[in-house]
């Protein structure tokens, strides 16, 4: 069978694949927006001067990181809705429950990894900075917000960008619970036309292309804002 480029450049299959790419990008974007604040909150919990909060955050991070994303998504799709009250469940099932489960799973998963990066960023700031801020009368939250986080985020951006890259690749797993993202559409084209080479070539090129853009962003950031020694 010849490689038919026109198949993925125009027509029905092109539209399917392109809409899949759009859904994948949207999944990445929404998850990123939700996961970042959550990750900062978890990182702060891990460092806060309150022991039970530390343990709770540590338990969260370890639980998430030691279970594969696929099991997370299966849980959020099949398991979690069962726990909800009936009226919310009905509302969920009438909407796009696949996408909601995927965003929930991906957000909690990504936030755990990002929180570790943010935490090590914060710990990269010399402890004297905290002590000095506390000594002149800032509380824990004010110290974090005004002194530590602005410095820490600068160190943290490169690992966060590479977590975004992981997130982009992880969205492919959402196909398992039937989210119509890129991998799902590629499979659909394959079943419909038996044109697996073309469909997978499109998907691979898209994943690679976006990955490359993200990698370039990281390199650009590194060039523009090299890590300063505090």
């Amino acid at each position: 069978m010849q490689f038919d480029l026109s198949l993925i450049l125009s027509g029905k299959y092109h539209d399917w694949l392109l809409s899949g790419l759009g859904v994948s990008l949207a999944l990445t974007g929404i998850t990123l927006l939700l996961a970042l604040p959550l990750a900062i909150a978890i990182a702060l919990c891990r460092l806060a001067p309150i022991k039970p909060l530390n343990w709770l955050a540590l338990a969260y991070v370890e639980t998430i990181r030691n279970i594969p994303l696929l099991a997370h998504l299966l849980f959020w799709y099949f398991g979690a809705p069962e726990l909800l009250p009936d009226n919310i469940k009905e509302w969920l099932y009438s909407g796009n429950i696949e996408a909601i489960s995927a965003v929930a799973g991906l957000t909690f998963y990504t936030a755990a990894y990002m929180s570790e990066d943010i935490r090590s960023g914060i710990r990269g700031i010399p402890v004297q900075q905290i002590e000095a801020a506390r000594a002149i009368g800032f509380g824990f939250m004010a110290t974090m917000r005004l002194v530590i986080l602005p410095q820490a985020l600068r160190i943290t951006i490169p690992p966060l960008i590479s977590q975004t890259l992981n997130l982009w690749k992880n969205t492919s797993i959402a196909t398992v619970i039937g989210v119509a993202e890129l991998m799902y559409q590629a499979q659909k084209v394959e079943t419909d036309s038996f044109r697996s080479t073309e469909a997978f070539a499109f998907a691979t090129a898209s994943y690679l292309g976006v990955s490359l853009v993200i990698t370039l962003l990281a390199a650009l950031y590194h060039h523009r804002y090299p890590v300063r020694n505090v």
């Binding site: 370890e62 639980t63 990181r65 030691n66 279970i67 594969p68 994303l69 696929l70 099991a71 997370h72 299966l74 849980f75 099949f78 398991g79 979690a80 069962e82 726990l83 690749k169 992880n170 492919s172 797993i173 196909t175 398992v176 991998m183 590629a186 499979q187 394959e190 697996s196 080479t197 997978f200 998907a203 691979t204 994943y207 690679l208 990955s211 490359l212 990698t215």
Partner: protein, 232 residues
């Protein structure tokens, strides 16, 4: 939950074996172990090629590393699933497909671990070995690799954890590993989805968490012997 475990524990652990295909947690472990073991030599070769002084070796492997690291594992699995049969000429079973995808994927990630392990050594080690008259390969084999592999051990355990988690993707091509079996149980029981997937999560957690503690301990132990040596 207890009756769920009571009814299905054997199915969960080994699938339908011996009356059907081997599966469950057993298959997950077998796949992860053989995947890592088979990808080790590949990772070693790729890793050395990545820092080879010869461009003709370094560039293609670097390109391959970037190619695979920019694509999701699922994509690699699909390529293997659809194209292994046309390359080998006969039907490939799911285990072979998954193993092939895992070996390629892990090989590339291991290459980066090997590379970091080698680059982490003082540069003088290679220079010293070369000036003593050892060839490049001899220097690698007798001087560099034995030291690099030692410091790589904790990363290898972590890679094993990743591999265990990666095997869950076999679910998509119908491989009867533990996630797939859990879904089968879920379809049979129907009413206890939350519990079934909770047990699945717990299983992965116990497995991976204890391994990650082991990696941590290993790292500390290696550090200790190193500082003892430095002191002596």
């Amino acid at each position: 939950m207890l009756d769920l475990i009571h009814d299905y524990w054997l199915y969960f652990l080994i699938g339908q074996y011996p009356n059907g295909p081997f599966g469950g947690l057993g298959l997950t472990l077998v796949l992860a172990t053989s995947g890592l073991l088979l990808s080790l030599p590949l990772g070693l070769i790729f890793g050395i090629a990545r820092i080879s002084p010869f461009r003709i070796i370094r560039w293609p492997i670097t390109a391959l590393v970037y190619l695979v690291r920019g694509t999701p594992l699922l994509m690699v699995i699909f390529w293997a699933y659809f194209f292994l049969p046309s390359i080998t000429g006969h039907k490939t079973d799911q285990i072979t497909t998954m193993l092939t995808a895992l070996v390629i994927f892990d090989g590339v990630y291991l290459a980066e671990i090997v590379r970091a392990g080698i680059l982490g050594l003082p540069k003088g080690q290679l220079e010293c070995a070369r000036s003593l008259g050892l060839g490049y390969f001899e220097a690698m084999r007798f001087i560099i690799l034995p030291q690099a592999l030692r410091s790589m051990l904790p990363s290898l355990v972590n890679q094993f954890i990743s591999t265990i988690k990666e095997t869950s993707l076999g679910y998509i091509i119908g491989l009867t590993e533990v996630s797939f079996i859990a879904s089968q149980i879920n379809t049979q029981v129907l009413t206890k989805s939350t519990q079934v997937y909770f047990i699945l999560g717990l299983t992965y957690f116990v497995l991976c968490f204890s391994l990650s503690r082991f990696a941590y301990w290993l790292e500390k132990a290696l550090q200790r012997t190193r500082s003892q040596k430095a002191a002596a």
